[in-house]
Symmetry: C2
Subunit: 299 residues, 2 copies
Amino acid sequence: MSIIVLGTVALDTVKTPHGVKKHMLGGSAVHFSMSARLFTDVHLVAIVGKDFPRRHINFLEKKGIVLDSLIRDPGKTFRWEGEYEGDLNTAFTKKTELGVLLTFCPRVSGEQMHIKNIFLANVDPDIQTRLLGCMHKPRLVGLDSMNYWIHHKKKSLLELLKKVDIYVANDREARDLTAEHNLMKAAKALRRFGPEMVLIKKGEHGVLVYSDKFVFCLPAYPTDRVIDPTGAGDTFAGAFMGHLSRQKKINVAAVKRAAAYGTIAASFNVEAFGLDNTSRFSLKDIDKRLARFRQICLF
Amino acid sequence: MSIIVLGTVALDTVKTPHGVKKHMLGGSAVHFSMSARLFTDVHLVAIVGKDFPRRHINFLEKKGIVLDSLIRDPGKTFRWEGEYEGDLNTAFTKKTELGVLLTFCPRVSGEQMHIKNIFLANVDPDIQTRLLGCMHKPRLVGLDSMNYWIHHKKKSLLELLKKVDIYVANDREARDLTAEHNLMKAAKALRRFGPEMVLIKKGEHGVLVYSDKFVFCLPAYPTDRVIDPTGAGDTFAGAFMGHLSRQKKINVAAVKRAAAYGTIAASFNVEAFGLDNTSRFSLKDIDKRLARFRQICLF
């Protein structure tokens, strides 16, 4: 089954100890799509400005992403500039130009309204709510957010949390939203906000999946080539949701495998700048590394 | 086969968000012994002062720890006072009274010199080196240290690293000793210092086992009852080394299982103050939780 993703399409400028890359194609919806496309059809809902290079559109189309609901607006494309230092775990935002995001009102076609799997990638929770309101009887709704919205639109975010099945947060967001330091306590508190399943992404430390029925812990794939972690969380979510979207039954085994796919997809993402790896990798590459990952985790 | 552990016996005063406990029996060799005793005979090499309560001696004897090389000196027992805040991942040392540790010269009996499994728990690396020099043809030597020695006795520590099989460090120590942020890079750098196997303990984030032949990653056992993490690393090492000590062949499967035992033993340790849990638990308790841990990790 197809999946529809709402989020940002951005031009990213990133500085890491490995170099600087300017105006790369990025954004939450793009990084999500790059891994989700390996599993299912991906429909992207986002906005770009008139400065958005035609070659990026061609690139996304070539990757099979459905762009029917990618709005092109007269304003400027959303731009983010960030820097990573030391262990590359935390991004320091140097500049954000919202541009067309300020007036973004998502729209989907009549057909797209019936897509059953939805991912609300990081964007203003009011926009996420609006998109969700357009959709007819979704089967699976995943949500990501970020600290900015936790602090500036907490009420909207809490309302939205009641309506989603899966909430994907990083450890800092989980702690900020719940005021719990212990991640198991934080996961339980997030569960009480509504979503049946909570995923806490811990960057280089892996992921914790929490639901009333089971708990699942997975380390990150160990790599010593961390070049640019931008979009790793979205890449994780793309593979995770992508795998679940094509499962008839979403049971424990499916969720565990989805989290493992997410982990491996994210490991490819961090090993290169921007989309350099994820625009090229295949499900075969992921399966190969997953087999190695099993050896690394099994006991 | 028996194991001999060199380290500290301490009187710990610990403050956590869950309360304050004064002058508890603690120290690296004691925490190590509490979990290692479940797997094999444990011989303890350490020093205490004349203020050391007789009841603690009785307690250790009752737990089956061999105290033939526990020196009783006229001075004061080593005391440590620490506090944990927030996520309880980092201890802030408020006070250290070295006491008898200042003049500690370890000695072992003629019989003990032939014990084949050795763990050099955290204590001055010169003292660790001296003890190791007394031992006849060891089969397996494990080493732990701490940031203080990395910064104050780096040369001694680096010399010692050439002589051990397994080095157990926490993430901060690994980074400080190697100047590498990435833990895989740090593990590889530590391997080059000498030890065939490197374990990097990441507290609530689990453990990374690195050797030339294999890599193994394990998350921590997820618990929301973190009461007092003091001694968790030593408890981990005790179960890890304890399991390996009784294996005829130390292969990949044995190391993985040992790391899993260490993880579970450490989870019991953090769920109570001092030795409250680890003085009472059994191998049956550990095996039971290990079975649950498998479900949590397997995919």
